[in-house]
């Protein structure tokens, strides 16, 4: 059971790290600001989500697990809001 959980963690964290790599690559390589913003939200969303998922089996207590989920939810909220606002600012500035 423990080995399975560890394997689950490793896979989830590897995929999460991959999304961070992809988000950064997009931020650096995409040609215009709006597509770069799009790449950024992938890292926010899936990268953090998968890594939190991978860490959950290792959270010592229920409170620690709740905090992990809350951190993920807060980053979602912040990411969604700021992506929306930045996109609007980019469009306005043309």
């Amino acid at each position: 059971m423990n080995v399975l959980l560890d394997l689950f963690s490793v896979i989830a964290i590897c995929f999460g790290t991959f999304f961070f790599l992809a988000g950064t690559a997009g931020l650096l390589r995409f040609p215009d600001a709006l597509s770069r913003l799009h790449a950024l939200t992938k890292a926010d969303n899936l990268g953090v989500g998968l890594i939190v998922l991978g860490l959950l089996p290792h959270a010592g207590s229920l409170l620690a697990a709740l905090k992990l989920v809350a951190i993920w939810a807060l980053i979602q909220l912040a990411g969604a809001t700021s992506a929306q606002l930045i996109a609007r600012a980019i469009r306005r500035s043309g």
């Binding site: 560890d6 963690s9 490793v10 964290i13 590897c14 999460g16 790290t17 961070f20 790599l21 988000g23 950064t24 931020l27 650096l28 600001a33 770069r36 913003l37 950024l40 890292a43 926010d44 990268g47 953090v48 890594i51 939190v52 860490l55 290792h58 959270a59 620690a64 905090k67 992990l68 809350a70 951190i71 807060l74 980053i75 909220l77 912040a78 990411g79 809001t81 700021s82 606002l85 930045i86 609007r88 600012a89 980019i90 306005r92 500035s93």
Partner: protein, 95 residues
């Protein structure tokens, strides 16, 4: 397992650090804010990984605080820097 967590933390931190090139090169200020947003997210994530690996107490609260404030730079940017024309409706109203 702990070494794996630390390696992942290192890879994420350096990945998003490479993204900071956008703070240097821009070209727009929106890109600069995006790069710090990504650094914030990556920093929080690697903090969680390091916390899990080293077991220092209270680190999850630091991550929680950073996550709460993650959107602040972007909002301050949109309010103050990106919107020159809407200035009259904001701070300097004198009627």
């Amino acid at each position: 397992m702990n070494d794996f967590f630390l390696s992942a933390a290192g890879i994420i931190l350096f990945t998003v650090a490479v993204g900071l090139v956008r703070v240097l090169s821009g070209p727009t200020n929106a890109d600069r804010i995006m790069a710090t947003q990504l650094l914030g997210t990556g920093g929080i994530t690697s903090l969680l990984l390091v916390a899990s690996a080293t077991g220092v107490r209270g680190v999850d609260d630091v991550a929680l605080g950073l996550a709460l404030l993650a959107a602040f730079a972007a909002i301050a940017f949109v309010d103050n820097v990106a919107a020159p024309d809407s200035d009259t409706s904001k701070g300097d109203r004198t009627e």
